[in-house]
Amino acid sequence: MALLKDATSVGRIALRYEIRWHGRGGQGAVTASMVLAMAAIYEGKYAQAFPEFGAERRGAPVKAYTRIGDEPILTRAPILNPDIVVVLDPSLPKELYLAGVKDSTIFLINTKKSPREIAEDLGVPVERVYTVDATKIALEVLKVPIVNTAMVGALVHVVPLVKLENVKKAVLETFPGRLGEVNVLAVEKAYEEVAGKLVEVNP
């Protein structure tokens, strides 16, 4: 199992994970960043989630950020060198999400392709690439190609940043009623179906 050793460590501040989300307007990247932070906060951790604020419109590239740590998070700078990159839309130009990545950055991509195919395309070791067909899951469960909750489910399996149950709680809090229930299904399905070698988080 690979260790996520190089997670951002700022000064004397304890280990912190910086996640950068890439999607298109309407896919829910901003909500995904929030749901993950909410789950971390329910778990008693410190977290922060914010979008890269643009004049958002459907289909335009969107970025969002989540930081999770054991100590208060003070910085409000955008994440330039992410520990984890999550791509909600495989049609995004790869330059967008390769910007500022480190030798240790982990990639989680919504695609039908295998981690090996994606790794070759991106020019990064296959050990750091994870894939899940979140669009298929979203169409099956939600009947719309909104992949955000599925991607959060896949992410917390790849890197156990927060417990699955807290993700579900955050999803139910964000989407009331029936919509919450089907989104929880999307989380569970993606959690099971994500492909790649699982990562152990430093204690």
Partner: protein, 406 residues
């Protein structure tokens, strides 16, 4: 007033600063909310509407047709003795400008949150403090929060300050638009808001519109009297300086959190101290802590109280440094020193033979990205200034295209 220290039970919620403010408005039992939507403020009043619709807050929500009317309605409500609230940003605050002066001149304890945002033209929905700094002379007590938790706490403190008999001025609680207004982070909110309502009881013992005791507000004051009205506002602002500190101390006793008027980090033996305000302080602080580990004698401070300007505390906090660098996010066009807070710090130290050198830097205009690296670059430059022994006589426009400094 002695306050009994209580054990407060907390809920830890993921909230944006906008939502944190809405929770504070609910917990402090505001009676009237008037609002007109503007980015990035809108989710404040959306959340309040939800609380009212759910029956969690018993208040009147007045949907008005402009910000000028939003503040006018809040002033009217406040005049009846109601606890009134509104929220705005950017062009909205500009459109309110006339009523800003009326609210303070009528001594109405209205509280308003401002999610600070750049001004048109060109249109920018992004953050800076141009809107808030334009309201500097409107006689509003002005707090600038640095976190969602502080935004929550400051709204509650604001009503205590505004409604205290020796102040009776409106209060703005400002914070970074987007950088804070739309950022989710953990916020502690009391399980039971009785403790908040006991901390900030409504002051009905003030001049207000009452059919049984008729009086008139806002009449004409001729040259024989107008000056005295205005001087009373000067005195009220002086009182507010003391009151802001008192209320914060009391709040700390009851709730276990306080902020003072200036927050500091790493000031001990610092040759250079950076001064800034709002949420960006967090980025500065992390950068400075890293530089400290590398042996740089540098510290950082955050101005929480902007009006009244905490001059005594500025001298106490920054007086020991060799160089003070003020990072502003607004421009006073045409001034040689164009950073509004830098100007104020310089005037505070004017004539003091032991004054530090003071340098003015502009950052983050229209939310131009500020990272820890930006801060480190400014610190590098500041150490060169310190070696030369002479601060630039003009403001530095950090990070703008086509301009560089040696």
């Amino acid at each position: 007033m002695a306050v009994e220290t209580k054990e407060v039970k907390w809920k830890r919620l993921p909230l944006s600063s906008n939502y944190a403010i809405a929770y504070a408005v609910k917990d402090v039992d505001v009676d009237v909310v008037s609002a007109y939507p503007i980015t990035p403020q809108t989710t404040v009043v959306e959340k309040i509407s939800e609380f009212i619709a759910n029956g969690e807050l018993d208040a009147e929500m007045i949907h008005v047709e402009s910000e000028h009317s939003a503040l006018s309605a809040a002033v009217g409500a406040s005049a009846t003795g109601a606890r009134a609230f509104t929220a705005t940003a950017s062009q909205g605050l500009e459109l309110m400008h006339e009523i800003l002066h009326i609210a303070s001149g009528l001594r109405m304890p209205v509280v308003m949150s401002v999610a600070t945002r750049a001004l048109s033209a060109p249109i920018s929905i992004w953050n800076d403090y141009s809107d808030l700094m334009n309201a500097r002379d409107a006689s509003w007590v002005t707090l600038i929060a640095g976190s969602a938790q502080e935004a929550y706490d400051s709204i509650i403190q604001a009503y205590r300050i505004a409604e205290s008999p020796e102040v009776m001025l409106p209060v703005i609680v400002a914070y970074d638009g987007y950088i804070m207004s739309h950022t989710y982070e953990p916020v502690l909110v009391p399980e039971d808001n009785t403790v908040v309502r006991e901390f900030a009881p409504k002051n009905f013992n003030r001049f207000r519109l009452d059919v049984d005791r008729p009086m008139t507000f806002g009449t004409i004051a001729d040259p024989k009297w107008y000056y005295e009205f205005k001087y009373q506002q000067v005195v009220a602002m002086r009182n507010a300086y003391k009151k802001v500190k008192e209320v914060d101390e009391e709040y700390r006793e009851v709730f276990g959190r306080g902020y003072g008027v200036i927050e500091t980090c790493c000031l001990e033996d610092a040759d250079i101290v950076l001064l800034t305000y709002g949420g960006i302080y967090g980025t500065f602080k992390e950068a400075i802590e890293k530089l400290r580990e590398n042996g740089k004698k540098v510290g950082v401070a955050r101005l929480r109280l902007w009006r009244p300007f905490p001059a005594e505390d500025i001298v106490k906090t920054l007086g020991g440094a060799k160089l003070v660098v003020v990072a502003d996010r607004a421009i006073s066009y045409g001034a040689r020193i164009s950073g509004p807070v830098a100007l104020e710090v310089m005037s505070t130290f004017y004539g003091d033979p032991d004054a530090p050198m003071i340098m003015s830097v502009i950052v983050g205009i229209g939310q131009r990205t500020v990272t820890e690296n930006t801060v480190a670059e400014i610190v590098d430059y500041s150490f060169r200034v310190l070696e030369r022994g002479k601060a630039p006589r003009e403001t530095l426009y950090w990070g703008v295209r086509g301009v560089s400094y040696e």
